[in-house]
């Protein structure tokens, strides 16, 4: 009876999971397998394709442009991740306090997240615009500058301008992740600490931060993956300029596929990027693993 029940439960469980598995198969494993297959071919956007073995991967190893774009993406990630974390952590500390307005502020800080990245990028293109943009106008009104700032004029200012936009856009998301982690810490611990004489800094340092390690690991992994997959903001805001100085790796993959018509080569780059992200995610999760 027990065996039969568990079999029935297993079937029911399997049926419940099946739609999800089907979705993952169709939208993840099949495309992944196709990408792997395409990466082993000379596969133009138009016209006949031919098997080329590992030729795309061999060429990729010698392609300085790909590694340059990977390094640029790493620099972008190293800038945007701390910016997001610091801003999100401060905001999470602010809005976790119970209060009449905390719900309003949580919503306000989260609002930019619901805007699509492309729409947000376009919005900021106009905010940064030298003719009609508000940033230059404010600085000129304050007499801090005489002429409009060309925000995308140099490699560094273009990169920092995008980092500022992404920080505005994504801080709310990281804030929510951190807030969930903060609220999962039992209030008893803070109460005991206060009885023992711990001030706010001590509570943050010895309770909040250590107990949020797993939350940090999750937020960090999500942020790093998101940064390595950045595309829209660069495509829309700088188009990779000035002088090709802001081309992240996904932008390079896009160019290989749709400008250079080399879909097989672009697939090989995607596979290599996937492997790099898997390794990086494992390293992050390992380093921030719980002591338990």
């Amino acid at each position: 009876m027990i065996a039969s029940l568990s079999r029935r439960q297993a079937i029911a469980g399997g049926l419940f999971v099946a739609p999800c598995l089907a979705m993952i198969a169709v939208f993840f494993f099949v495309p992944l397998a196709m990408t792997l297959w395409m990466s082993l071919h000379d596969w133009p956007l138009f016209g006949p394709r031919s098997f080329s073995g590992l030729a795309n991967y061999v060429q990729l190893l010698q392609d300085a442009s790909f590694w340059d774009s990977l390094w640029f993406t790493t620099r972008y990630t190293l800038l945007v991740t701390p910016a997001l974390f610091i801003a999100a952590f401060i905001l999470a500390l602010v809005v976790q306090q119970p209060g009449r307005l905390s719900g309003l502020f949580r919503t306000a800080y989260f609002l930019p997240v619901v805007i699509g990245m492309s729409a947000a990028s376009l919005l900021w293109v106009w905010l940064y615009n030298d003719q009609v943009g508000i940033f230059s106008a404010i600085l000129m009104q304050l007499h801090l500058i005489d002429e409009p700032v060309q925000w995308f004029d140099s490699a560094n200012s273009a990169l920092l301008s995008i980092v500022a936009m992404v920080t505005w856009k994504m801080t709310g998301f990281t804030m929510v992740l951190l807030l969930v982690g903060m609220q999962a810490i039992p209030e008893d611990l803070y109460e005991a600490a206060r009885i023992d004489g711990a001030n706010r800094w001590h509570q943050l340092r010895y309770i909040t931060l250590p107990l949020m390690r797993q939350t940090f690991a999750l937020a960090l992994t999500v942020s790093v993956i998101g940064s390595y997959l950045a595309f829209d903001q660069f495509y829309i805001m700088t188009h990779g300029g000035p002088q090709n100085s802001t081309i992240p790796v996904v932008f390079w993959i896009y160019r290989a596929a749709f400008t250079y018509s080399r879909v097989g080569y672009a697939s090989a780059m995607s596979v290599v990027l996937l492997l790099i992200l898997i390794v990086m995610s494992f390293v992050q999760l390992y380093l921030l693993r719980s002591d338990d």
């Binding site: 016209g47 293109v125 030298d130 409009p148 004029d153 300029g241 400008t259």
Partner: protein, 414 residues
């Protein structure tokens, strides 16, 4: 009838409607155009559908996504029946075997010898014809007559060489108050081929050999044209935003009334007359260094993708678009250059500026290369980088050498 009976009936009816809509959609002839052509394509398709049994479904695709979308459609074997595509992509699509050969039918057209030469040349591969002209656009130099007058220049005597452009730009910039003599979108490869290459052509140079297989950027006319632009940039005749403009402000800066001269397309004539009547403007062909004229002859070609399920109707539609009535009513009268040279007067009879644009287009050229997207249109490609390095960087020789090498690498690739 109980609830479940009614629900079943409703469901059945819905499925039937869905199936019928599906079947109807399958019967329709599908036509893809890029956003740039939507204003002309929409009334055109409406007129066709109103007078023909075979119905056409129009899909408008953002300019930048057009080739991406067609590429994925071709890979999945789900192509549209008719395709209107930027003429510069036709050599690539023809070479890759994506378009139907229409040579015999095209030759039999009664107006075949009046069709845009640039379109016909780019649609011809190894003596076979793969597309016909659909829409036309010619590039010209636009100048603000009001600023010319204020700067003490003759507004009816536009520049006919580079030295005059530079001298006029300096006088206009000297007006102050944020006014600049000249403007161009410096981070946009497509804009440069449209408005910068004509200076080279007008001076007798070119960027590619006649067969499109070798770069000719090391010819003196290319270097001279880059130095001409660099002089205007470094002496402050061009606003700082030019360096990072990827085409978004291609015409916008001129619309502020604070720019003396800008290279643009014939479309700007209608736009200015319609939306900025306060700007008094003139147009002129791009001059060469010491005279001569040049223009980019652009626009879209119309073709039948391989795999089209309605090739016959598609061809009927293509030739209908080229008929006297359609070219006159839907193109010329709407401010779009007709693609037939014999129908020019219907376009320009009311405004001499349109005649200048029409002549510029008729005499214009477009480079033939199946690598055009990589070489020219890519804002990170060697053509856009050449202008960036030379004009803003200033080391013209090094920029030319780098671009010449990169051009030939791409041209010799598979």
């Amino acid at each position: 009838m109980n609830f479940s009976g009614r629900a079943t009936l409703q469901l059945g009816a819905s499925l039937l409607m869905l199936a019928s809509a599906w079947a109807q959609a399958d019967d329709n002839v599908t036509f893809w155009v890029r956003m740039q052509d939507s204003a002309v394509a929409q009334p055109l398709v409406k007129a066709w559908n109103g007078s023909h049994k075979e119905q056409i479904s129009l899909t408008v695709i953002p300019n930048d996504d057009f080739i991406t979308k067609f590429g994925t459609a071709a890979a999945s074997g789900n192509v549209p029946d008719i395709l209107a595509v930027d003429l510069i992509y036709v050599p690539q699509l023809a070479k890759a075997g994506q378009l139907t050969d229409i040579t015999d039918k095209a030759k039999a057209l009664p107006f075949a010898n009046t069709l845009s030469k640039a379109h016909m040349r780019l649609a011809n591969a190894n003596g076979r014809q793969y597309a016909l002209p659909f829409s036309a656009e010619g590039s010209v130099l636009l100048y603000n007559k009001g600023l010319y007058k204020k700067a003490g220049l003759d507004p009816n005597n536009p520049p006919k060489d580079w030295a005059t452009i530079e001298a006029n730009a300096k006088k206009i910039t000297a007006l102050g108050g944020g006014v600049k003599g000249f403007y161009f979108s410096g981070a946009c490869g497509g804009c440069q081929i449209f408005t910068f290459a004509p200076y080279i052509w007008a001076s007798g140079g070119d960027i590619l050999s006649a067969d499109g297989k070798t770069a000719t950027l090391d010819k003196p006319q290319v270097k001279d044209a880059l130095e001409f632009y660099h002089r205007m940039w470094s002496s402050g005749q061009i606003s700082a935003g030019s360096k990072t403009d990827n085409g978004q402000n291609f015409i916008n800066t001129f619309l502020t009334g604070k720019v003396g001269m800008v290279g643009t397309g014939a479309f700007a004539i209608g736009l200015l007359k319609r939306e900025h009547p306060e700007i008094d403007f003139g147009i002129t062909p791009f001059p060469g260094e010491k005279g001569g004229t040049g223009s980019f002859a652009g626009g879209d070609s119309i073709a039948i993708p391989k795999g089209s399920k309605h090739a016959d109707v598609a061809y009927q539609f293509m030739t209908w678009c080229l008929s006297d009535a359609v070219q006159t009513e839907y193109f010329a009268k709407n401010g779009s250059i007709p693609v037939r040279s014999d129908l020019g007067p219907a376009y320009y009879k009311d405004d001499p500026r349109l005649k200048i644009a029409f002549d510029a287009f008729s005499a214009g050229q477009a480079p033939y290369s199946d690598k055009f997207p990589q070489l020219i249109n890519d804002n990170n490609g060697p053509w856009a980088t050449l202008v960036q390095d030379a004009v803003y960087g200033g080391d013209v020789n090094a920029a030319v050498k780098k671009a010449q090498t990169r051009f030939n690498e791409i041209l010799s690739s598979k």
